[in-house]
């Protein structure tokens, strides 16, 4: 059975309240109805790290063979020329002999990657493909869209096996439509006539896709258990819901008030939340919009109950308020200091980074075959038994306990204090790194932490990714 074998989501911990955005601009930017908040990626996160987090979560409980492909989807890939999928594959410790692709150019990139993964598995080149979609889009500060956009990621493991959901029908439309776009070199999304875009773009094209799919599958809307449809903003979504004739109860919560519109990741992220509560036999309609639309009909299998019985981390995890709108601006590098977001340009050698690629990205230390001592980083002569070249690579665990820590207010960083942590890793080895997403009052000796893949800096104009430690139970 070909379909979705596993799934995971990742929403960064910080939430920016609409009210805080309104306060910062001293005017009501968002529709007055309701109060919402949006997820904001930390300063050390980008769409690559968000996707990596979702991908690693998706793989952490999967016991089967490793995927033979990584498809990354985003409209905000950190680099124009440097494949994010390859970096994620390295962090996930996948072998070199896999297929990696970045999907981009449209908010439909997430479902495009999903459909391409299904084709790859059906066509035979891969046993399974991990699709990881993430977005970290920017609206110009002060624009309404700033409140509706959210940062987030989702990952789906597509393959042949005990699928929890299968794809029954697909209907795609390609249509050039001047709704939302972003030119190369512009960090901010652009648009023109919002009402025109909402009605003649988003609403018309999605309804066309939905009708087309239902026709193909010979279904009526009433046979659908859930319709999963991304919402770029409140009014477009409300209008679409009304026009579709689908009762609100059948629409999957688009998370617009709690996470925000997560761009290319949104359809997949919403699908994961839908699967959390899905029952065997249910039909789910997944919609995706951008340069046309994708409509995908999924059928939930009995396997969903087996999946649910396994111990897994909460899908979306907790959120906590971002201190202020200014913090959001700083995290997104929208108020620049003289030296930019990272303030400093640490020494780097890219030759060295390449040489240490497996150690640093896939997180390998060494274990002495004579005395079993474990070290990170790698070395050649054992400091315990002084044997030369008796080390073998040792895959480090990503969980551990805090041995000691400091809260450094001197280190130049977008966020102060920089909390440094010494960690004893499960399975052995000691690690020393920065903490991420950590309340300064939270660290305690003995506290449980886990390693998370983050961006450290951009020395030589090249994003350096490595592992930070995050509290397993955040907050004080």
């Amino acid at each position: 059975m070909i379909g979705i074998l596993d799934y995971a989501a990742y929403v960064p911990i910080s939430r920016l309240a609409w009210a805080e955005i309104a306060r910062a601009w001293a005017r009501s930017l968002v529709p007055p109805q309701g109060s919402g908040e949006r997820a904001v990626a930390n300063f050390d996160e980008d769409s690559l790290t968000l996707a990596a987090e979702a991908a690693l979560r998706c793989l952490e409980h999967s016991e089967g063979p490793r995927p033979e492909g990584i498809y990354f989807a985003s409209t905000t890939a950190p680099d124009q020329e440097r494949q994010a999928a390859t970096v994620i594959a390295a962090a996930a410790d996948l072998p070199r002999e896999i297929r990696t692709v970045d999907f981009a150019g449209s908010l439909r990139a997430g479902t495009s990657a999903l459909l391409a993964a299904l084709d790859a598995v059906k066509g035979g080149p891969a046993w399974s493909v991990l699709v990881a979609a993430a977005d970290c889009r920017l609206a110009e500060p002060g624009q309404t869209a700033e409140a509706f956009i959210g940062d987030g990621a989702a990952a789906l493991l597509i393959g042949e096996g005990e699928a929890i959901a299968t794809v029954e029908a697909v209907h795609s439309i390609a249509e050039e439509f001047p709704g939302t776009w972003r030119r190369s070199g512009n960090p901010f999304i652009e648009n023109d006539d919002e009402k025109f875009a909402a009605t003649y773009g988003y609403q018309r094209i999605l309804l066309d896709a939905m009708r087309g799919l239902l026709e193909k599958a010979r279904l009526t809307p009433k046979q659908l258990a859930k319709v999963v449809c991304p919402a770029p903003d409140l009014s477009s979504y409300t209008a679409l819901a009304k026009a579709s004739g689908i009762p609100l109860a059948f629409l999957q919560d688009p998370l617009l008030l709690s996470v925000g519109f997560t761009g290319a990741a949104c359809p997949l992220l919403l699908l994961t939340t839908c699967l959390e509560r899905a029952e065997p036999g249910q039909l789910i309609l997944l919609l995706s919009y951008g340069g046309g639309a994708d409509a995908i009909l999924l059928s939930v299998t009995d396997q969903i109950e087996v999946h649910r019985s396994r111990a897994r981390r909460p899908l979306l995890g907790p959120g906590r308020p971002l201190a202020s709108y200014q913090t959001y601006l700083r995290y997104r590098d929208l108020v620049r200091s003289q030296h930019g977001l990272w303030e400093i340009e640490p020494f780097s050698s890219l030759t060295m980074m390449w040489r240490e690629g497996k150690q640093n990205l896939a997180l390998y230390g060494v274990k002495c075959t004579k005395c079993e001592a474990i070290f990170f980083p790698a070395r050649r002569v054992c400091p315990r038994c002084e044997t030369k070249d008796a080390f073998e690579p040792y895959k480090l665990g990503r969980r551990g306990k805090l041995v000691t820590f400091s809260k450094d207010r001197l280190y130049p960083s977008p966020e102060s204090p920089t909390i440094m942590a010494v960690i004893d890793l499960e399975g052995g080895g000691r690690f020393f790194t920065q903490m991420a997403d950590c309340d300064p009052d939270a660290p305690r000796i003995g506290m449980d932490v886990e390693l998370t893949f983050r961006k450290f800096h951009e020395s030589k104009g090249y994003a350096h990714y490595f592992w930070k430690a995050r509290p397993v139970h955040p907050g004080p």
Binding site: I344, P346, F347, I374, D408, R409, L410, S413
Partner: protein
């Protein structure tokens, strides 16, 4: 061969430590070296070889990078000069290497200079920049000097149930001693209230737990012990020279680090004690200059040097044992805390302070009847420690 009694110090000198905006690197070397020549009653022409200790070369990595910088400053082109760098233990290690050269019999009389120009750039560009912008691109990235030593303070506090008030006592003592030292960067006492109100730098370390960014140079003229009395009366003898680097740079990554002590200090001290024939350092050492780059370092060092047992450091400072009028005065100069820490110069400044104490010419800071003194100089997060024992006879 034991180094004991092979080498004698016949002259010491040092600049005023501080933000020496009107002096460059070479000016400070000239001032420190000529003071040492005068003290030794030795003209520069008699110097047969020299060692220069500078940790971070000035002028974009040029000045202080080679012995040539010392030759240029003093026009000492005749003598062979080596530059030594060994983190914050640079000064004492330059001295140690010079001692071995003299003890070998190759040279009779040599010069050792430690110099560091830190305030030709902003404090942010100085040592903070050194740590934030150099080193491995990602491993341990995020650490600064106070951040490193705060790891020790956090763990020490947790293990022994103490808090910042104990560290305050170290800071207040060293500021009190510094107020008596005309060459110290800071020459003022501080109150507990000032300490507690000061901004945090790297929790749990606050401003008054940290030594400042300082310029300075210090020098010593040393010679064969058997020739010392021909130059001056009251030479000071080298009794032991220990240096240890048992964990290297990777203390924070080492699964065996306990974060409440520095193995390097214990091992370097044992080497020096063995050479000097010291069995009970608390009883046999009269005065000590230790590496209080941060207050927590001094606290841990009392224990690692064997002045008291592990966990008894807080009691040691509480009871005033290490105060000027205590049983074993520590950092009579005011330490790095008050003198500042021009990295390469610090070790030689400490040697100068102990030399002065043993000669009985430390003025208001004089420890009565001091006969034997110790210098402790630690680099990195316990990556290297140098321990020296000196005595007046």
């Amino acid at each position: 061969m034991n180094i004991r009694d092979k080498v004698a110090i016949i002259g010491v000198g040092a600049t005023k430590f501080g933000e020496n905006f009107t002096q460059d690197y070479s000016d400070m070397i000239v001032e420190a070296a000529y003071e040492a020549f005068e003290d030794a009653n030795v003209p520069p022409s008699q110097i047969q070889a020299a060692w220069l200790g500078t940790c971070f070369p000035d002028s974009g990595g040029y000045q202080g990078n080679a012995g040539a910088s010392l030759a240029d400053a003093l026009s000492l082109y005749r003598a062979p000069i080596s530059r030594v760098a060994n983190y914050c233990a640079t000064g004492t290690d330059a001295f140690r290497n010079a001692c071995f050269a003299v003890a070998s019999g190759v040279y009779d009389i040599v010069l050792v200079v430690g110099a560091e120009k830190m305030r030709d750039v902003t404090p942010r560009e100085s040592l903070v920049g050194q740590l934030a912008e150099t080193g491995h691109p990602v491993h341990g990235k995020g650490v600064t000097a106070p951040g490193m030593f705060a790891l020790i303070a956090t763990r020490y506090f947790d293990c022994f149930g103490i808090g910042r008030e104990t560290l305050a006592k170290v800071a207040m003592k060293n500021h009190r001693h510094g107020s008596l030292n005309p060459k110290a960067h800071f020459q003022k006492e501080i109150t507990l209230e000032q300490y507690l109100k000061a901004p945090m730098v790297a929790d749990p370390l606050s401003l008054y737990d940290c030594c400042p960014q300082t310029d300075g140079a210090a020098a010593a003229v040393i010679c064969r012990a058997d020739l010392a009395s021909t130059f001056r009366q009251e030479p000071i003898y080298v009794k032991g020279l220990g240096l240890a680097n048992p964990v290297g740079d990777g203390l924070a990554f080492d699964p065996e680090s306990d974060f409440i002590s520095f193995q390097a200090t214990k091992e370097a001290a044992q080497q020096a004690y063995d050479q000097a024939g010291i069995k009970d350092p608390f009883k046999e050492i009269d005065v000590a200059e230790v590496h209080d780059c941060f207050t927590i370092t001094e606290l841990v060092t009392y224990e690692d040097l064997g002045f008291c047992r592990k966990g008894e450091g807080p009691e040691f400072i509480d009871k005033g044992v290490s105060s000027l009028d205590g049983e074993l005065p520590v950092n009579t100069s005011g330490g790095l805390k008050s003198c500042g820490h021009p990295i390469g110069a610090s070790g030689l400044r400490m040697i100068g302070e102990i030399t002065d104490q043993l000669r009985g010419r430390a003025g208001r800071r004089q420890v009565k009847g001091a006969k034997r003194g110790l210098i402790h100089n630690l680099g990195g997060l316990g990556a290297v420690t140098s321990v020296i024992v000196l005595a007046s006879s």
